[in-house]
Amino acid sequence: MDEPILLMQNITKVYSNGFTANSNVTLSCQKGEIHALLGENGAGKTTLMKMLFGFEEPTEGKIFIKGKEVKFKGALDAIEHGVGMVHQHFMLVDRLTIAENVVLGSEPIRMGLFDKAGAIKKTKELADKYQFNIDPTAIVSEVTVATKQKIEILKALLHGAEILVLDEPTAVLTPQETRELFVQLNLLKEAGHTIIFISHKLNEIKELCDSFTILRKGRVIGTGLVPDYTPHMMSAMMVGRDVLLEITKEDAVQRETVASVDHLSYFDVTGLPVIDDISFSVQKGSILGIAGVEGNGQNELSEILTGLRNFSNGEIKLNGKSIKGLSVRQLRDSGVASISEDRMTYGCAPSASIAENLMSDRFFKPKYSRKVSLKRKDIEKVVNQYIKDFDISCTGPNEKVGDLSGGNIQKVIVAREFTSGASFIVANQPTRGIDVGATEFIRKKLIDLTRTGEVGALLISADLNEVMEVSDSLVVMHKGAICAYFEKAKDVSEDELGEYMLGIKTMTPEEIGLARKGAI
């Protein structure tokens, strides 16, 4: 075998909270291959790539590029050595054009001034070379997520990237866009670029990649050529046990409506409709899923339903009563619980203890406090029970939430929201970015909770698997409006869902109107 173009040798990384993100990891890539870096969330993929791109320094270990040892002090060093990175969260200037973004950092200059025509020409040439179908003069804020990703790739290529790292690029794409991306990545490969493809979607790996390295809990579990392994074998290596990929659940039982949304609209400060005349209802004993590409009004909807945001038009009823003008406390008292999509901002106080986080919505209840003071013994007892029931791994109720792993932080949040006695739960991206074990646990808890028949849930998720597996019925949101309703979430195919998510297809108002009546 030739000398690898990239060799990361015996890399160890220990973070300041004592967490060992990488332990003796070796990653080696050949020129002109697509190498998959696989692992569950929290397995150490992103950390490893951060070190490759100079964002973090390895605690131990060496990095070689084309056989020469390199030490990166920052991203600029990495770019200079031909490493390009496409982050999960795009780093683009929204108000500039595509061409201006692509040349950022290596702007063409004519007579001492920025050469706009030159930038457009340069971008166009590069885009044509790899069959990227884009308009260099378009403003970035107005293009789709898929196009933004292309801009990031072009930017890296223009900076001379030979090794291109893509961090979960398909997470934000529809199935159609994913296919297009794969075509382009194969073209890049043929042109001699090396691609490191980070993902945990095994079918994509099987389709696209040549070789792979699997990380688990910061260690290399296996490495090999993709054709030699079945997805099942890789899956077993990733999680160390056979994951229950399909959730078994009983059918929903039809009960009374717990929440109904009628012709709800919300306009942002510029007067644009972020939520555009939507209607649906949620029944006790069932889960309504909301699918959609992120940023199509889902977060606003969840904030409105939990009292953090006012709405402009329409009506929302909870157990038959309007929620207009209710404070967060009043809403919670009338039976709403919610898992926020932004865990560290709204879901918890990282510098507060587990007990303090678990009590935030109920400390004032007679069970936990007297007239003025808190009942500390009673609180501790309940908190210990929650820690046990929700399998939160920690040193005790006084450990800071910020010191826990992502999955355990989410379990703390779920423990609070699921035990609040709510009749309506809004779960916004409840398992994003957490490990498979915790994901499974939380999904199962949510299903169990609704199957008691006392609770209805709204599940907002960008993870197609999640909305399809966990929900009973399903609506799709696109540009703030509901564009499809499926009574049985199980009967929908991924491709069909993708077309609605992209706005290629829309159902008739009559079909969508069924969402108002609710499931079954």
Partner: protein, 362 residues
Amino acid sequence: MDGNLRLNHFFVKYFEAIRTLVAVLIGFGVSLLFIYFISDEPVKAISTYMFKPFDGIRRIGSMVEYMIPIMFCGLGMCMMMSVGQFNLIGDGANFLAASAVAYISTCLIPNCPPILFPVILIIAGAVIGGGCGVIPAYLQSKFKTNIVVVSLMANYILILGGVYMLLYWMRDPSKTYVGSYAIPEAAKLTNIIPKTKVSTGIILAFLATIAVFWFLYRTKPGYQMRLIGKNAAFAKYSGINVVKYAIIAQVIGGALAGMGGAIDTLGKYDRFIWLASNGYGFDGMMIAVIAKGNPAYIPAAALFLAYIRIGADIVGQTTDVPLDFVLVVQSIIVMLVAAVSFMSGFRQKSVVKIANAEKAGV
């Protein structure tokens, strides 16, 4: 090896306390170096600085007297910090309350029965201080003003207001120096250590420390305030009335500073004589920062600050070193305590060692 590992665990566990201690020692060490280089008799100056504050009941008394108002201001600052607001109104609140209490006792109600008199005056100080505390808090929640800027600027108004009261409302014209009429004996706090001016105020200061700690860590309002300070967005999402409790905390913070002003005036002076801020509010800010906002550490931080202040005073009076050098010490300590990354490299090394040991053990 085992003992070494235990040391690492200890270091990580008590990192914040160790870090503060090291910052204090470095600050103290630098001040010694300072004296060494500027003094012609460094040995005498240093021993004066280090040991004279404990030399005799009078000097120990001065330290304790000094602790009283700064403990109250420090506790007030802990309240501000509990809701995550760096409201620096304490200095103005302390001064205005001190001045107002002097005015009330000399001019408004000079004939009040003892015992009840100081109680009324301390309550008055608290009310005035609380009123001061609400100004920056309200402006911030209503108009989104910057709380640090507003509170710093408002301090000038409050302090000059206090000076105005002295000059135009209660100045005793029979005195050659600027001073108020004499504060009635019935208004004064009882002296508890002879030969010093240590009053019952020190007892009140410790009681206040216990009360503030209990309030913040054991009660419903205190819990809500700390949750707001740790993550206001989360507090709001949990259903806590963030604006209300943030303002209440700052009113209490101002009230504590005001009480400090009242108690200092009634415990230590015959007349109100201040024509400029005495700086207690900022001393309180400093000890609250050293105590990391935890009221339980306020007495120790106050004692330390009183020690270096009184030490510097004595050095300034008896040696050739100007007393201003103490400002250098304070600055270094506050800077090091507030510097988030200070010593984090050492901590990282310990963390790595522990992590490696755990890995080897598994």
